[in-house]
Amino acid sequence: MNKFLTSGRITKWLVSGPPFLYLTMFFLLPSIIILVASFRYPGDYGGLAPLFGGEAGRETGLTLETYKFFFSDFIYTQIFIKSFGVAMASTVICLLMAYPLALLIAHSPKKHRDFMVLLVILPFASNFLIRVYAWMIILGPQSAVSLAVNHVLGVFGVAPVPLLFSPFAVLVGMVYVHLPFMVLPLYTNLEKHDPVLLDAAQDLGANAWYRFWKVTWPLSLPGVYSGSALVFIPVLGMFAIPDILGGTGDILIGNLIKDQFLGTRDWPFGSTLSIMLTIAVLLLAGITVLISRRGVENV
């Protein structure tokens, strides 16, 4: 047919080919590998047992063993539930802290806004571990905060409470690290609100609280959902924060997975845990998309 149409097709493959191939090899394939691995037996010295062949009496091939193992001991499910709880709490706290800030930025004069947003992002620029380490300092037993808190508790006759290496520290860490992720989508959404709507509401007799609850909040829901997803999902998979700020009893899914792969080297079980985490994340992402779509219709 036409020369310029066929050259268009070549260009299409030239442009989308390389990233597609790269990601197929280093993302798609590994994902499939881990999915398959969750159905395999552990090797003798860790890792995975071979799929085929092997001596008689040895276990090879595919199995549901690891999945059964997961459900056999309640502690694993418990860790999942705890992780969800931590993620939920972190999300809510982030929302409460981020909302006023996002509102303020959205209502500020235009030339200040980019700068204020930059101020929110800059801490994100520092290394993740540094941000966690900072809380080790603040919540450490010798720190001003710890001493102050324990002093107050002492007044009420309560024994000193270690702030560090506790669920509290883990929560603080999670919130601290993910707060910018809640601020940005909220701000992006709030910035688009037409101020005329609030004027109209006021004109019709609504007071400040009512205006917020009936106009601003519903319109901001898509931003709330995006921000919540951006906090909830990463928190679910975190292991470094419980590892550094948490005590021995504070492990979450991420820590469990890490231990399987690098510690006990029970790779199939680690894979199973990863697959279950993946399913949880996919479900959450799916729910978020559904809710935000329906929410938009209702508004």
């Binding site: 047919m1 036409n2 020369k3 310029f4 149409l5």
Partner: protein, 361 residues
């Protein structure tokens, strides 16, 4: 041989036929307009001429050569886009020189031509400015200069005046006509504004739902629309339901409900019993407090129900005593006077039996 020959061009998108067997000849040097409502296919046709889309059937010939297989960059046809499409990262001069650079012209020639082009659109001092620093009208002119600078065989303009306010629009219309005449490039102008089409064009093609309804000079399109769509689309018009009673060699006897029997100019191909419309332009309807009844006119009394005063003329909407409604136009020409009649006034209307057109249903 016409400059551009569009022969039986069709374009389908799934079940929708966007362009339906269209054939047009566009002559060199003319200001040709494709006029029609949104969705009539004019932009699709434009894109096929420019080369961004391919016809499913038919041919497009430039100077006798089929354009199929020629990519847009090789066609000596340029387009002024509705959004102007100026390159934001290049200056005005950079934008205008772009086609010259693509054509491989020497730096010296480019400098001279760009300067000429800027003068032609009255933007000589804006060469170093960037598009975002210009007003809407200025951007429009840069887009024009850019499209004309290397003298294409054809310049296509896709609703270029749509974003401008009324006064600026009128100024640009005059500039467009002047420019086209000076430069001599063939213009193909696409618009949905019938007033614009009438004002600017040498010839107009009225399009509707993918088909060409009529191709002619503006005055013929206005005075002799071939069917109801064209009559309705162009200007204001009275469309009175009518049925043919008798066809005579020099006139038609037709009957209009709530008016009675009326005479209209003869039209071949009509037969008694045929249903249709009597199309009358409001300026063809005389209106006065009293009109002498004369044999050569259709005459009716009535009352002014409403009026549209636009400063220079007033359109009166008259309820005739017999029950029908008709519009009559009267210039407000008396000095110091606004309109001649007010709502509720008793008036008489009349039109010559040689005016009006009978159009089929």
């Amino acid at each position: 041989m016409a400059l551009l020959e569009i022969r039986n061009v069709t374009r389908r998108f799934g079940d929708l036929i966007a362009v339906d067997n269209v054939s047009i000849d566009i002559e060199a040097g003319e200001f040709f307009t494709l006029l029609g409502p949104s969705g009539c296919g004019k932009t699709t046709l434009l894109r096929m001429i420019a080369g961004f889309d391919l016809p499913d059937g038919g041919q497009i010939l430039l100077d006798g050569k089929d354009l199929v297989g020629t990519p847009p960059e090789k066609r000596p046809i340029h387009t002024v886009f509705q959004s102007y499409a100026l390159f934001p990262h290049m200056t005005v001069s950079g934008n205008i020189s772009f086609p010259l650079r693509m054509a491989g012209k020497s730096a010296d020639e480019i400098t001279v031509r760009v300067k000429e082009a800027l003068e032609q659109v009255h933007l000589s001092d804006k060469g170093g400015s960037f598009p975002h620093e210009l007003s809407g009208g200025q951007k429009q002119r840069v887009a024009l200069a850019r499209g004309l600078v290397n003298r294409p065989r054809l310049l296509m303009l896709d609703e270029p005046l749509g974003a401008l306010d009324a006064k600026l629009r009128e100024e640009m219309q005059i500039e467009l006509i002047t420019l086209q005449r000076e430069v001599g490039v063939t213009f193909v102008f696409v618009t949905h504004s019938q007033a614009e089409a009438l004002a600017l064009s040498h010839r107009i093609a009225v399009m509707n739902a993918g088909r060409i309804e009529q191709v002619d000079v503006p005055s013929k399109i206005y005075s002799f629309p071939v069917n109801r769509f064209v009559a309705d689309f162009i200007g204001r018009i009275n469309m009175l339901h009518a049925e043919v009673l008798e066809t005579r060699p020099d006139y038609l006897r037709i009957t209009i409900p709530e008016m009675g029997e009326v005479r209209a100019p003869a039209k071949s191909g009509t037969a008694p019993g045929q249903k249709g419309f009597l199309a009358l332009r409001p300026e063809q309807v005389r209106i006065a407090a009293k009109i002498e009844e004369v044999a050569g006119e259709n005459h009716f009394p009535g009352k002014v129900r409403d009026l549209l005063y636009v400063g220079d003329v007033t359109t009166y909407i008259v309820d005739l005593n017999s029950g029908a409604r008709i519009e009559a136009l009267l210039p407000n020409s008396a000095p110091g006077r606004g309109k001649f009649f007010e709502t509720g006034d008793r008036v008489e209307v009349a039109w010559s039996k040689d005016t009006g057109l009978f159009l089929n249903e």
